[in-house]
């Protein structure tokens, strides 16, 4: 290995690094300069602070398609702030987390509630299945979701049931296996006043509400 070879290698690494960094710069960023950074702090809307947000209860009993029933109890109700950065923008977003857990079988449903300037967001997580929808500042769910006029679950009739399409993320499974997965599209059925009525998971399992204990106090 002589000096010329060494310098050739160094130059090649330098060019490659420049290309990689430059590619990222052009793809995800911008060369525009920001003359003024806008600051905003978003807070939860009043309806998002309600104790029984969207009718989410203190505890709820569900049936599982495998033939057993279980109790989901609200074990967390907390608000927290996240910093949001965007081009010429910096702000904070107030969020709320409602967590429901079942002692056995060990299960967890997380309801993440977020707010932006004009709209609210809801993200429901259950066993790697994720369901996301937006609302306006009063809690009206965006029109893009299918609405069932009525639906009957475990003998109870519900009005205006929103059908939310979800997707699945695996948390730890190796990428090389992930590509082979063939899960179904998961769905959540949500009522504006009774919360989560039903979840169909990508594994084919179904959770269906039997009854709930309201959070009005």
């Amino acid at each position: 290995m002589n000096k010329r070879f060494f310098f050739t290698i160094t130059a090649a690494i330098g060019i490659a690094a420049t290309a990689i960094l430059g590619g990222c710069y052009c793809d995800g960023c911008t060369t525009d300069t920001c003359s003024e950074v806008r600051h905003e702090n978003w807070h939860l809307f009043d309806f998002q602070k309600e104790k029984n947000f969207f009718g989410q209860p203190k505890s709820a009993r569900y049936s599982h398609s495998s033939g057993f029933e279980f109790e989901m109890k609200r074990t967390t109700d907390s608000t927290y702030k996240e910093t949001v950065y965007d081009f010429c923008f910096e702000g904070t977003e107030e969020n709320r987390l409602l967590r429901y857990t079942s002692t056995y079988p060990i299960m967890e449903i997380d309801v993440h509630i977020g707010a932006e300037r004009y709209q609210g967001s809801v993200l429901i997580n259950f066993a790697d299945n994720h369901f996301n929808f937006w609302t306006d500042s009063t809690g009206k769910i965006e029109d893009s979701h299918e609405i069932l006029d009525t639906a009957r679950y475990n003998g109870v009739l519900y009005d205006s049931v929103y059908v939310i399409h979800g997707h699945k993320f695996t948390t730890w499974e190796h990428d090389r296996f992930e590509r082979e997965q063939t899960g179904k599209v998961p769905y959540a059925y949500v009522s504006r006043t009774k919360g989560i009525l039903r979840i169909l998971t990508s594994d084919g399992d179904t959770l269906t509400l039997i009854g709930s204990e309201d959070n009005h106090e």
């Binding site: 290995m1 000096k3 056995y104 299960m107 967890e108 066993a127 730890w172 499974e173 090389r176 296996f177």
Partner: protein, 194 residues
């Protein structure tokens, strides 16, 4: 220039062989824990477990091991939000066994200087290699028992978990009264895409 090449060569040597040259005839993990690193393997299987309440659940595992010094096994349920993850790695002192626990946050319980058939952690956790264990009428050999019943603050989802060296998870005990056992239903296996 020669110093540069020498430095790179030394760095590469350390990176590629932190426990030595991995002579397959040598032992890099001591005691009965060595039984878990006697195979080259990378695969994922899906199998059935049933608890004493009658609930059947599907579990998916992932195994990666390299003879004679590395074993990584992870498994999780579908209905049950349960995860068991154990890692055995070579060291200069007989190897380390790490049990990963904690829902959401990764709590690592590290058993160092492996030898004999069992180790106790300062926080009260224990691991032990059983020669055999009978589950659902079937006898599994070389079974790792992870025992969290003596832990001061149990970070694991379970009280005890049992992993057979050549089969994976065979039993979980939790909440004092629940036992989940592997059924005899044949597991489906997936191999990695190259």
């Amino acid at each position: 220039m020669n110093k540069f090449i020498l430095s790179v060569a030394i760095a590469c040597t350390f990176l590629l062989a932190s426990c030595g040259d991995f002579d397959p005839s040598e032992e890099y993990v001591d005691g009965k824990f060595n039984r878990f690193v006697q195979k080259e393997q990378e695969n994922s299987t899906t199998f059935e477990m049933k608890d004493n309440l009658g609930i059947t659940d599907t579990y998916t595992d992932y195994t990666y091991r390299h003879k004679p010094e590395y074993y990584d096994y992870r498994v999780e349920g579908t209905i049950n939000n349960l995860e068991v993850h154990v890692l055995i790695q070579c060291t200069d002192d007989g190897g380390d066994l790490t049990v990963h626990c904690g829902s959401g946050e990764d709590v690592k319980i590290v058993f160092r200087d492996l030898k004999g058939d069992q180790k106790k952690h300062k926080d009260g956790y224990r691991v032990k290699v059983l020669d055999s264990l009978e589950v659902n009428g079937k006898t599994y050999s070389d079974v790792l028992e992870i025992d969290a019943t003596g832990a001061k603050n149990n970070a694991c989802d379970y009280d005890k978990a049992y992993i057979a060296a050549n089969k994976g998870l065979v039993r979980i005990d939790l909440q004092d009264s629940i036992t989940i056992e592997r059924t005899s239903k044949k597991a489906t296996e997936r191999t990695p895409i190259d």
